[in-house]
């Protein structure tokens, strides 16, 4: 399997707090990778740096032949919009927009005409079992339904990598399982890799491979493969 994204020797501090102390991450095309670790271990910071949402103090993130730190802000934004998708724990949907409009948002931001973008968004609603919720606003959806809309939005632009940070953290176990099953199934069908940050081993068990982050460093042991 070829490496799609490689983060090497990442360091990041927030004031006196060391979040990353030489962390590494390798993501292969199409794989589902779990990133586990205790609270405060640096796993979310590692995800943010690997996805270009934060800039590490030192170290290097390479994606498909490009080095993220060598890109301009506009180039990094475009890369995130076209190549990456994101699912966070909560608060990621725009409350004023309907489910379809939320899903279509990455396409609209990238200049696609509304009609085309929303047609594609409707297709994703169907795949995530939300065919009758297209006109609902986030406040009218359950937590699990909102996360499924977020998964659809993450996948709509056909990204190569989905970054998911505790995607089931705010859900009960049944809704969480549904989200995980749909996230992993649809990502596999679309050929997208998933970087799944979680503290929950039952969620991490949906991955093909896992790494552990402890004290800002990654442990990638043979048995985790």
């Amino acid at each position: 399997m070829s490496a799609l994204l490689v983060a090497e020797g990442l360091h990041k501090t927030y004031g006196p707090t060391v979040a990353l102390a030489g962390a590494d991450l390798v993501v292969h095309a199409g794989e589902i990778l779990s990133v586990m670790g205790p609270s405060g271990s640096g796993k979310s910071t590692l995800l943010h740096c690997a996805a270009g949402l934060s800039t590490p103090d030192s170290g290097r993130v390479g994606y498909a032949g490009r080095v993220l730190s060598q890109l301009s802000d506009a180039e990094r934004s475009a890369l995130r919009r076209r190549e990456f998708g994101f699912v966070f724990q909560f608060g990621q949907l725009v409350p004023e927009l309907t489910a379809v409009e939320n899903i279509a948002l990455p396409l609209r931001l990238d200049g696609m005409a509304r009609r085309h973008a929303e047609r594609r968004a409707v297709g994703w609603l169907d795949r995530l079992g939300l065919a009758d919720k297209g006109k609902a606003r986030p406040g009218e959806l359950s937590g699990g339904q909102q996360q499924r809309v977020a998964v659809a939005r993450a996948l709509v632009a056909q990204p190569k990598v989905i970054f998911a940070d505790e995607p089931t953290g705010a859900l009960d176990s049944v809704a969480g399982e549904r989200v995980m099953e749909l996230l992993t199934l649809t990502a596999r069908q679309a050929g997208a890799a998933v970087v799944l940050v979680t503290h929950d081993t039952r969620v991490a068990a949906y991955a093909d491979r896992g790494i552990v982050v402890r004290d800002g460093r990654s442990l990638d042991r043979a048995g985790m493969r």
Binding site: T201, A205, D208, R221, G223
Partner: protein
């Protein structure tokens, strides 16, 4: 649960032939350990001997006679007694995992490495169960979930113990 008890539960629903009992047992109770025909007929012979089932019909045809078995009142009482008695919760007080941690500490080996290796092994098993669960029936899901919740509990214990390793090392080494 024994094979005999499962047969009684199946027969309480309706009388069945031996082949039908095996098929229903494999579907509901066997999972990875399907019955051999020999087990079906030795179990039925024991249930007949103990008065828990009777032969209520015999079909004669070209081949051997086909006996149909039905549960007796005593059999129904047995099923009720089994369901009335909750499963004794495991005490988990003789943990091999804990023994390995202590042995590592006593011999100056890395207890953290023992915990890490075990964590990896558990996660591999959980991934396999999750794959099986997501492609299976509701029965598969619930059975895999039972295993997954137990493995998850072990993993929490491994994390919890990792936090206390230094303190435990001091106590173990006296």
């Amino acid at each position: 649960m024994t094979i005999a008890t499962a047969f009684l539960a199946l027969l309480e629903g309706q009388p069945r032939h031996g082949y039908d009992l095996k098929r229903a047992y494999d579907q509901h109770f066997a999972r990875d350990h399907r019955l051999h025909y020999g087990q079906v007929y030795t179990t039925l012979a024991k249930l007949l001997r103990n008065g828990l089932v009777i032969v209520d019909d015999i079909e004669s045809g070209g081949g051997p006679d086909r006996k149909r078995y039905a549960i007796t009142e005593a059999g129904v009482t047995d099923v009720q007694r089994w369901l009335d008695e909750p499963v004794k919760p495991e005490q988990y007080l003789h943990s091999d995992l804990y023994a390995r941690v202590v042995a590592a500490l006593l011999t100056g080996r890395s207890a953290a490495a023992v915990l890490d290796a075990q964590r990896d092994e558990h996660l591999v098993a959980m991934r396999e169960l999750t794959r099986r669960k997501t492609s299976g029936t509701l029965a598969d899901r619930l059975i895999c979930d039972h295993a997954l919740f137990h493995l998850d509990a072990d993993l929490r214990w491994l994390e919890h113990t990792a936090i206390h390793l230094d303190e435990l090392a001091e106590q173990v080494r006296g």
